[in-house]
């Protein structure tokens, strides 16, 4: 390592430039700090390598977080010079108008249904794919396809499929003698329809993760179980499911977090209607910010969403131990 340090320092010196060592004490102090920290040229290289990313994150993520905290406490239309502090009135106003409670309820219903539905079906599909001897890659690719298709495009298609008269869904239902509802315009059926599209879209992600988890389980576990005379169901129930429990939980948490943030498909399918029965928080925020120019209210909704995501993340940390995954150097 000695040569390495030498080389690095030589590189630095030969590269010239840099601040001069003459001048006032502060500059000298800075320079010696720089030199001390710039062994091997690390500090200057780090500035070049991390600087741009941190600048963009700072301007478009970190500063907006602070800014958003301020916005949530003022009343502002985005243009007028007057931005009176209203403290928590933005939250209170949205709560009292009934919009916020409705949106929270709708978002939670959507989220829990899609997370549980897509994890349960995803597990079943993954168990089946894991057991077939041929065509695994093909099945995985097909089931994952909806997850990569553009949400706008497939939502447009689903809107046509759910058309009350000539949509494919109701035509199929009529074949078996059921008169299907006007899915997206019904206060009863709009949310289930949106949930159905959500499950269709997110199922494949869970399938892929479950399959990866199943592949990590050593096969002799099954053989041992088979030798013991356990039936297939018993093997699944008493061996596979406990082994898959951590993945299941992780997928549920991820599904819940993603569900809280749903926007595109509801925007296309129902725009929150009818009568707010599909008015998720993302739509509520969008409407207040960019239709009503109620920036304070929109920021308040953003913080409610943060609260929901943060509480789930805390649950995740509780379960996995804080900092066990990801956080920490």
């Amino acid at each position: 390592m000695a040569e390495l340090t030498e080389t690095g320092q030589r590189t630095l010196r030969s590269s010239g430039g840099g601040p001069s060592s003459d001048g006032p004490p502060l500059a000298q102090g800075l320079f010696s700090w720089y030199r001390r920290n710039n062994r091997l040229g690390d500090l200057s290289a780090a500035a070049v390598l991390v600087g741009p990313a941190l600048l963009i994150l700072g301007v478009f993520t970190v500063w907006p977080i602070v800014y958003s905290g301020y916005l949530a406490l003022v009343e502002w239309d985005g243009l007028s010079a007057d931005r009176p502090f209203v403290w928590f009135d933005n939250f209170a106003r949205l709560w009292d108008s009934g919009e916020l409670p409705t949106s929270i309820k709708v978002t939670l219903l959507y989220t829990v249904a899609v997370a549980v539905g897509s994890v349960a079906i995803g597990l079943a599909v993954a168990l089946m794919i894991d057991r077939v001897t041929r065509g695994r890659t093909w099945y995985r690719a097909v089931y994952f396809l909806p997850a990569v298709t553009a949400t706008v495009a497939v939502s447009v298609v689903w809107r046509l499929l759910l058309d009350p008269g000539s949509g494919y869904v109701n035509v199929a239902l009529r074949e078996v003698g059921i008169q299907g509802p006007n899915w997206l315009r019904s206060t009863t059926w709009a949310l289930p329809a949106v949930i159905g599209v959500g499950i269709w879209k997110h199922l494949g992600f869970n399938v892929v993760v479950f399959l990866a988890g199943l592949q990590a389980i050593p096969k002799d576990v099954f053989e041992a179980s088979a030798v013991d005379g356990a039936g297939e169901w018993k093997t699944i129930r008493s061996i596979l499911l406990p082994l898959l429990a951590p993945i299941t939980l992780l997928l549920l948490i991820m599904g819940v977090i993603n569900g809280f943030l749903v926007f595109d498909q509801v925007f296309i399918l129902t725009e929150g209607g009818p009568l707010g029965t599909t008015d998720v928080l993302g739509l509520l925020l969008y409407r207040h910010a960019f239709r009503f120019f109620d920036l304070g209210g929109a920021a308040a909704v953003g913080w409610v969403m943060f609260g929901l995501v943060a509480s789930i993340t805390l649950v995740q940390w509780r379960v996995y131990g804080a900092g066990a995954r990801g956080v920490g150097s």
């Binding site: 080389t7 590269s15 920290n37 062994r39 040229g41 690390d42 290289a45 780090a46 390598l49 991390v50 990313a53 941190l54 994150l57 301007v59 478009f60 993520t61 970190v62 907006p64 800014y67 958003s68 599909v125 089946m128 057991r131 077939v132 099945y139 690719a141 396809l145 909806p146 990569v148 298709t149 553009a150 949400t151 706008v152 495009a153 497939v154 298609v157 046509l160 499929l161 000539s166 494919y168 199929a172 992600f205 892929v208 990866a212 297939e232 943030l261 926007f263 925007f267 296309i268 969008y286 910010a289 920036l295 929109a298 920021a299 909704v301 953003g302 943060f306 995501v309 956080v327 150097s329």
Partner: protein, 271 residues
């Protein structure tokens, strides 16, 4: 083996499921090739007529070629930026020693937990202040950095041996040079993962283009399709053609990059 006789049943169930999964996509393809008069005559799911004019009519009804260019520029910029900046920052966090490294990396990770909605309105205001509304800059620059990508690349570089880099430094290469000529080429597989995620994210995104642009000339494909479906809601063949065109690049990217995508999901369930 007791599993053997179950195979037909499993395949039957899986095929029914696969059919349901593919149904909307098949319907989209078939409808886009029907003549407008036949559209409500079900239930062909496999194209039997091939009326390609829907595509030209959809393209003529709205400026889809223009939307395509906009989406391509935006996606290209974001993919290139996220790949390069993730590698650069990930490398620095993994290999370089500088004051505040742990703190800054913690900050990067912390931003991963922040839902975009918290920063949506302020980001819009900042873009407006910078004069970037209705511009490629406004569509691209705020989304050039992926904290998840930085995290992934840092882990990747930590898992690589630094022998090659040390050899290069002994030969007199600077740290930057080592990153560019040694570390970057060695991390192509991980960068492919970040690239495919960035591609799918930006090609499919609706919300940011929706709020940042009002000029029809700057609409992306997804935004253009959303607006298009509002105006031509009854013209099913055109809508199907437009939807197919809007999602085709994502499907192709998926088929090409499936390996890296699946790996990325396994690594961190890609956010």
């Amino acid at each position: 083996m007791r599993v053997a006789y179950r195979q037909p049943t499993l395949h039957l169930l899986l095929l029914v499921g696969a059919f349901l999964i593919l149904l909307p996509l098949l319907w989209m393809l078939t409808t886009s090739l029907k003549s407008p008069g036949d559209v409500h005559i079900p239930p062909y799911l496999i194209p039997v007529t091939f009326d390609w004019s829907n595509y030209s009519r959809a393209f003529a009804a709205d400026d889809f070629p223009r939307f395509y260019v906009n989406s391509a520029v935006m996606t290209g910029g974001i993919v290139a930026g996220q790949v390069l900046l993730s590698s650069a920052a990930g490398y620095a966090f993994a290999r370089l020693r500088f004051p505040g490294r742990g703190l800054l990396f913690g900050l990067v990770l912390a931003t991963m937990m922040m839902p975009v909605y918290v920063t949506l309105v302020p980001s819009y205001l900042i873009v407006r202040t910078l004069g970037w509304l209705d511009s490629y800059t406004g569509l691209i620059v705020p989304r050039l950095v992926s904290p998840f990508g930085i995290f992934l690349m840092r882990q990747y570089y930590l898992s690589l041996s630094s022998d090659f880099e040390e050899a290069a430094m002994i030969d007199g290469a600077s740290r930057l040079r080592v990153w560019w000529s040694v570390a970057l080429p060695m991390s192509v597989p991980a960068l492919a993962t970040i690239g495919i995620f960035a591609f799918l994210f930006s090609w499919n995104d609706l919300l940011w283009p929706l709020i940042i642009t009002t000029d029809p000339d700057l609409r992306t494909v997804q935004l253009g399709l959303a607006m298009f479906s509002g105006r031509y809601g009854t013209q099913w063949t055109l809508l199907a053609a437009g939807s197919l065109v809007a999602t085709l690049p994502a499907i192709i990217a998926y088929l090409v990059g499936q390996r890296w995508l699946v790996r990325g999901i396994a690594l961190g369930a890609g956010r």
